[in-house]
């Protein structure tokens, strides 16, 4: 089953012709409408005329998350605000989020790309889809929401949390599709098992927001009785809908007519040979409000251009194997250690050193932040020490959107590092390392 069969099964030579045409268009469009790109492209001496083959994309400089942050909030938008129908944002590293915008056309295109990955995973218009992503500025929930609506499924926008109610609705409504993070699905499965419920109608799971190992997938399938698929996206590109698995589950098909992928060496910035492993770079070919040229995702993967057994010619990216930076994904939320630093900055009584400990307890991620208590001012009252920990916890929550346990430890008890600090202790034991 396909959503837009003509595109999804297009001959590669035709697809590449379409991509080239669109690439030339978007370079021109960015040059003329986004001051940031105007400067960048001018400096690099790149105009649409210089792009004669897809390989000529290499003339274009990369765009990074920092570039987007420096242009907070709307400076990288290519259209005036009256043309912007919606904004989304993702967590930033210094407290300011990275903001992205969509025109009506962008939203329409987005819904199509999401509908494609849903159909590829096995969703149909007969499905009842429970969306257990948190609704809000993050792209996950609303992205899937409108894609599934466009597909014609019945959407249940239950949002995240309140697991007992989720399960009740799942049962009463006869939910057939589950949209969540893999770790939440795993947790749901355990609760359902504990409650002894065995009459759910779940059929297909569309999981995203974080990676999912083979073991976890098998466990989810066993406990929830569904067919689990992965999908991938990020707000800077569009949100979910960048790529997703078909029922063959041999890679995530990238919606290449809109998102042109490349694989580069994250150290040197050199483009890698086809099939090699490296950092994924994406250029949006059709977006109006927030086009990005050669956006560095920092996700490590590889691309397979062979036609899939499902009939799709769209390139398949391997499950993300790691990151080329220090970002962590905790409960589906992107966390940079530098965000923790900014939360701790200026807090008295504690030292500058910290350690993050990420664990998985009952299938749920937990974050513990250890900081050193360096002066004795608060030792007269436990309540003052508790207030300090609570204050830090609130600051972390407002920056990360995550609840963390704050532990005060003795001075000099956290390990000191020379050079690049390793302040993260990830005990979840399944984060694949980027071994290319």
């Amino acid at each position: 089953m396909y959503w837009q069969k003509d595109i999804e099964t297009m001959k590669r030579s035709d697809l590449e012709r379409l991509q080239l045409e669109r690439l030339r268009y978007i370079v021109d469009y960015c040059y003329n409408n986004v001051p940031f790109y105007h400067e960048r492209l001018k400096k690099a001496g790149v105009t649409a005329d210089k792009i004669k083959t897809l390989k000529d994309i290499e003339y274009i400089p990369y765009t990074t998350k920092d570039d987007i942050r420096e242009n907070y909030p709307f400076n990288m938008f290519a259209v005036p605000m009256r043309k912007v129908a919606r904004v989304h944002a993702s967590s930033g590293t210094t407290g300011k989020p990275t903001v992205v915008g969509y025109t009506k056309n962008d939203l329409d295109m987005w819904a199509d790309t999401v509908a494609r990955i849903c159909v590829a995973a096995g969703a149909t218009e007969d499905d009842i889809a429970q969306i257990s992503f948190g609704y809000g500025l993050f792209t996950g929930a609303l992205g899937l929401h409108y894609g599934l609506e466009k597909l014609g499924a019945c959407v249940v926008p239950v949002s995240s949390g309140n697991t007992q109610k989720q399960i009740m609705l799942m049962r009463d409504f006869g939910t057939t599709l589950l949209i969540s993070t893999p770790s939440y699905a795993l947790y749901l499965g355990e609760v359902i098992k504990e409650m002894g419920i065995d009459d759910l109608k779940l059929r297909v799971g569309l999981f995203g927001g974080e990676g999912c190992s083979k073991d976890i997938r098998e466990q989810i399938e066993k406990t929830l009785g569904l067919f689990a698929t992965d999908n991938y996206g990020m707000s800077e590109i569009i949100g979910p809908g960048v790529s997703g698995e078909c029922q063959q589950r041999c890679g995530l098909h990238i919606n290449e007519d809109h998102f042109l992928p490349e694989i580069i060496d994250s150290e040197t910035g050199q483009v890698k040979e086809r099939g090699e492993c490296g950092e994924l770079v994406v250029t949006t070919l059709t977006k109006e409000a927030f086009p990005v040229l050669r956006y560095r995702t920092r996700d490590i993967t590889k691309l397979d251009y062979d036609t899939c057994k499902c009939g799709r010619t769209l390139v398949r990216m391997a499950k993300v194997m790691g990151r080329s930076d220090d970002m962590l994904i905790i409960k589906g939320v992107n966390v940079f250690p530098s965000q923790i630093e900014s939360a701790l900055e200026g807090v008295s009584h504690i030292g500058p050193h910290y350690q993050l400990v990420v664990r998985r307890v009952n299938a749920r991620d937990t974050l513990e932040v250890k900081v050193e208590l360096v002066d004795g001012e608060l030792l007269e009252k436990f309540s003052e020490l508790e207030q300090l920990a609570n204050m830090i916890r609130n600051r972390l929550h407002s920056i990360l959107g995550l609840d963390a346990k704050v532990t005060l430890v003795e001075p000099k008890s956290l390990e000191r590092f020379e050079g690049k600090a390793k302040r993260v202790l990830d005990l979840r034991g399944e984060n694949p390392k980027s071994e290319c």
Partner: protein
């Protein structure tokens, strides 16, 4: 009329208390009274020692978080109801006790209560005015 007390931040981990007391032992510091209060992750060790300034320097040198606080040491008859009467007295004057701990003196029949209050001067006045004996710093080791 007050005595210097050491408060030391100690993580709830095996061997931590042993380390603190070892540092004090090697520095020739004698411990007169102690109390430990703890939470899940950490505790606060409070000590009355022979040389609080030296003890504080030793522990700071070993990277401990330490605070020196003035506390009151009250001498009581070691008999039923003595503590209750003293606390009732403080309470009747609106003085609330943050924490307290106690030890029995080597002299038979005496108990010593270490109390931490917001206003030491006021508390000492009330106690002295009501016939209680408040121990001076230099006396604490003759007990």
């Amino acid at each position: 009329m007050t005595v210097k007390q050491l408060s030391i931040f100690v993580e709830n981990k095996p061997g931590r208390l042993a380390r603190v007391t070892d540092i004090l032992a090697k520095g020739g510091i004698d411990i007169r009274a102690l109390s430990v209060a703890d939470t899940t992750d950490y505790g606060i060790l409070r000590l009355i020692v022979s040389d609080p300034i030296k003890a504080c320097e030793l522990l700071k040198g070993a990277e401990y978080t330490v605070k020196l606080t003035d506390v009151i040491v009250v001498e009581l008859e070691d008999e039923v109801g003595a503590l209750a009467r003293m606390l009732a007295l403080l309470d009747s004057h609106g003085i609330s006790v943050e924490y307290l701990y106690a030890f029995i003196g080597r002299d038979k029949g005496k108990a010593y209560i270490i109390i931490r209050v917001e206003d030491n001067i006021k508390a000492v006045d009330i106690l002295s005015g009501n016939g209680y004996s408040v121990t001076k710093e230099e006396e604490i080791y003759k007990i």
